[in-house]
């Protein structure tokens, strides 16, 4: 058995150069895309904010921010509204996360289910539901005769609350789950009360989670467009102001400038997130999970509060679905399918377009993100770090800004003849809008790929492609499935970026909902929204199914030894 290197039997593969080329291609292709379809539009919008209508350099767009009659007020509204939403959502998020991770509240699956709802719906759906319930001619007014007026601050607050709550719960839950049970065991044996444990262990351990949830909520609310356009009413915020400047007055320079202002909180939020992640909360992914002792008072209290907090999430979506089947909301509550015969000139074409876009984004996006994450993993850390930052940068750019930037970069110029009004530009826009989350999910997934196994493949004579096929793909499969459906679902429901990219010949499902609503066809808007929810829910169900299959396939055979 003891033979000197036996290349003859082996015919050992050669060509390290080929492997290296492949590794570089893995990085180069996605990176080129990132530069061209994210970097370039962003630079374009930045430059444009310093240009006057006749393309001369000017600072007047920025000075006009102060003198304009509407912008300062919209900015104040944005900050007030986002601030109020943040406080409400973080407190509610902490409560619900406590119910999920520190109590024996029954029906945790129901809570998780309710939190999923906003993910399935375009963000204007909460607003629509609120109008159905609390609008001037809403159900509540009809039943009680109260003069309800939901348009404006309060409506926006509730709608954004529904929209942002799930994300806050998710972030805070991660922080809570990372706190090791043994801290509580130690405190318990030393005689600390439940309140002391909450103040001395839970809060300090989760403080970066809370902080990070706060920034995320502030950013997504201040940049949200869907709810603002539906229930904002005369309460103009920066997002609607941009829309007016660009779509109403065709003042792209001003739109770009307000966009730059909206970038500030987002960039700040991402920077702080970076800092916070360096001082990560104590605890680890391998923490022993906390198991709450029975406590009727606490569990009952948390159940009731959670139910109340989640009520608007469920009520708004449920109302929209219900209203879509009702003859004349809220006067004649008999059921009908009439609203599903839409008055839109192209009927359900936009849903089909949205589906096409979403599938393209999911397929190509997953492929590109997989290549990028894999390439970054194989590079020396001096190169990998800046690439990692570049790949996570899109999170700092709100959808509206991506949309306007795309209009400015691609409606004219060298690429416009291929891109203008095409499905491709919408797909690209969506992909780079959601690039960060997909990339992070993919990177986390790749981290579970055991390095020893890749080394084993190298030693056994395998090349890069062997290693990808036999080690990386099997281990990263669950992450790949998640990224695929994540991109699909987000592309289906998004409105803020694509609103600027539609043309008379190219419309999308979420945009159609907005148009139907603006034209007063609220019941048809409800029917349209319901269709989107059904498609996305089906995708989610399919994802769960595939993900479970994949992990059973793998975990059934996973090594349980160290």
């Amino acid at each position: 058995m003891n033979t000197v290197i036996d290349n003859s039997m082996a015919g050992l593969p050669r060509g390290a150069a080929g492997d290296r080329l492949l590794a570089w291609a893995f990085v180069a292709v996605p990176l080129l895309g990132l530069l061209l379809f994210f970097g370039y539009p962003l630079v374009t919008i930045g430059v444009r904010s310093f240009l006057s209508a006749d393309h001369a350099f000017t600072l007047s767009n920025y000075t006009r921010l102060w003198t304009d009659p509407n912008v300062p007020r919209a900015a104040l509204h944005s900050v007030l509204m986002a601030g109020a939403t943040t406080v409400a959502v973080v407190l509610a998020g902490l409560t619900i996360a406590m119910a999920l991770h520190r109590s024996r509240v029954p029906g945790k699956q129901l809570i998780r289910g309710a939190l999923l709802l906003p993910m399935l719906a375009p963000s204007l759906m909460q607003g629509l539901g609120l109008i159905f319930l609390l609008g001037r001619n809403g159900l509540i007014h009809q039943w009680t005769g109260l003069n309800t007026d939901i348009y404006g601050f309060s409506g926006l607050l509730i709608a954004n609350f529904c929209y942002a709550l799930p994300q806050a719960v998710f972030i805070i839950s991660v922080a809570l789950a990372r706190t090791d049970r043994r801290y509580y065991d130690a405190a318990e044996t030393m005689g600390a009360s439940a309140w002391r444990q909450f103040v001395d262990i839970t809060l300090p351990q989760a403080k970066f989670g809370l902080l990070s949830a706060g920034f995320v909520v502030f950013t997504i609310t201040i940049t949200d467009f869907g709810n603002a356009i539906v229930v904002g009413g005369s309460y103009q915020v920066l997002a609607t102001e941009i829309y007016d400047q660009v779509s109403g007055q065709m003042d792209f320079g001003m739109g770009a400038t307000i966009g730059m202002i909206l970038l500030l909180p987002a960039i700040l939020s991402v920077c702080l997130e970076r800092v916070a992640s360096k001082h990560r909360d104590g605890g680890s992914e391998h923490a022993l999970p906390f198991e709450a002792a029975p406590d009727r008072l606490r569990d009952t209290g948390l159940s009731v509060i959670s139910a109340l907090l989640l009520l608007p999430l469920v009520a708004t979506i449920a109302t929209v679905v219900y209203a879509s089947f009702v003859k004349l909301w809220p006067y004649r509550l008999g059921l009908t399918l009439a609203h599903y015969h839409t008055d839109l000139p192209d009927g359900y074409g936009p849903v089909v377009t949205s589906l096409k876009v979403s599938i393209i984004v999911a397929v190509f996006g997953t492929l590109l993100l997989f290549m990028l994450a894999l390439g970054v993993r194989r590079l020396p850390s001096a190169l990998a770090r800046p690439l990692y930052v570049a790949a996570t940068l899109p999170a700092a750019v709100p959808g509206m800004i991506v949309g306007i930037a795309y209009v400015m970069a691609f409606n004219s110029g060298p690429l416009s003849q291929w891109l203008y009004g095409s499905i491709a530009i919408v797909a690209l826009c969506n992909f780079y809008h959601f690039h960060t989350q997909g990339f992070l999910t993919m990177s986390t997934g790749l981290r579970s790929v055991p390095g020893a196994l890749e080394d084993a493949v190298s030693c056994l004579g395998g090349r890069v492609l062997h290693s990808v096929r036999d080690v990386v793909l099997p281990f990263a499969a669950p992450a790949i499935v998640s990224v695929f459906f994540l991109l699909f679902m987000q592309s289906m429901v998004t409105l803020s970026a694509v609103i600027f990219l539609i043309t008379p010949d190219l419309s999308l499902a979420s945009v159609s909902v907005m148009q139907l609503n603006e034209n007063g066809f609220v019941s048809q808007a409800a029917a349209y929204s319901t269709c989107i929810v059904v498609v996305v829910a089906a995708a989610l169900a399919l994802m769960r199914l595939v993900a479970t299959r994949v992990s059973i396939h793998l975990q059934g055979r996973q090594q349980h030894v160290a």
Binding site: M1, N2, T3, V4, I5, D6, N7, M9, A10, G11, L12, P13, R14, A16, P450, A452, L453, D455, A456, V457, S458, C459, L460, G461, G462, R463, H466, D470, V471, P474, H553, L554, Q555, G556, R557, Q558, Q559, H560, V561, A562
Partner: protein, 335 residues
Amino acid sequence: MYFRIADVSKSFGGHKVLDGISFAVGESDFVCLLGPSGCGKTTLLRIIAGLLTADSGTLSLGENDLTHMPARARGFGIVFQSYSLFPNMTVAQNIGYGMKIRGASTHEIDARCTALLQLIQLPDVAAKYPAQLSGGQQQRVALARALAVDPALLLLDEPLSALDARVRVQMRSEIHKLQRQLKIPTIMVTHDQEEALTLADTIICMSHGRIEQIGSPRDLYLQPRTRFVAQFVGASNLLPTAWVRTHVPAMLADRPDAPDDALEACVRPEDIQLTASPDGEGRIVDISFLGGHVRLGVSWGGHHFTVEQHRSCAFESGDAVTLGITPGRCVWVSA
């Protein structure tokens, strides 16, 4: 010599993890790289495997220069501490993997696989998945997979440290038997001195990226050259020259000529005899019962000794004793 490594150095971010490493491995030697975590032994193994390139130095196998050859062309077998089997492949597919990449026929692979499963004494697991095997069985399959490609050199990276204590000892003797039988030159990384002492023909003891001493297990235990080796391989009492001069001047007889603080006397715990005597200068400080023998802490002349005696000795804490050192069992090591 069959495999040779000459003057290999490696730095990570300005920190030198390997500094001028040279040694050779004979045609059928079992060599252990022994050292505490962070001493650079795993980095060295990865360089030998070709998974990492050295900053300087050369590697050669027989007449072939390996220095710039990628891992996959070296034809070595490697076994890692854990996670080394493909979870989505059967045992047979795992073992046949390297041969398949080399384009061997199905028939060839099957035959080889059956033979190897016999060799590792798991003839019936071919169709099973790794998760259905115990930790020890998984490591045996990993070994079979490494052997399947007729490796020119077998590399073992702490292959036993993830296993239960009992399985570890059993596996250890199996690896020993297998290596003697197949005569494959083998390099194993370990931090467990007992593992190194029982398995190796040659131990290379490393610390802070340098080789402290190369020798047979017997050499390393009986003739340690440095304070580090004396402490890392087995337990030892290290006595400063000045202390020896005052208390046991006879031990100075075989001391090489060197300044006082350049050398220390190393005496193994089992080479000290205790005699109860009311006017003895030693005092028993503590006693731990270890089954076959007892370990006693004894203070003498301001120095703390560790002494091992047969369990039949009847000392108690606080007893006055005299200490006798077996003649010729004191080794002078560089401090």
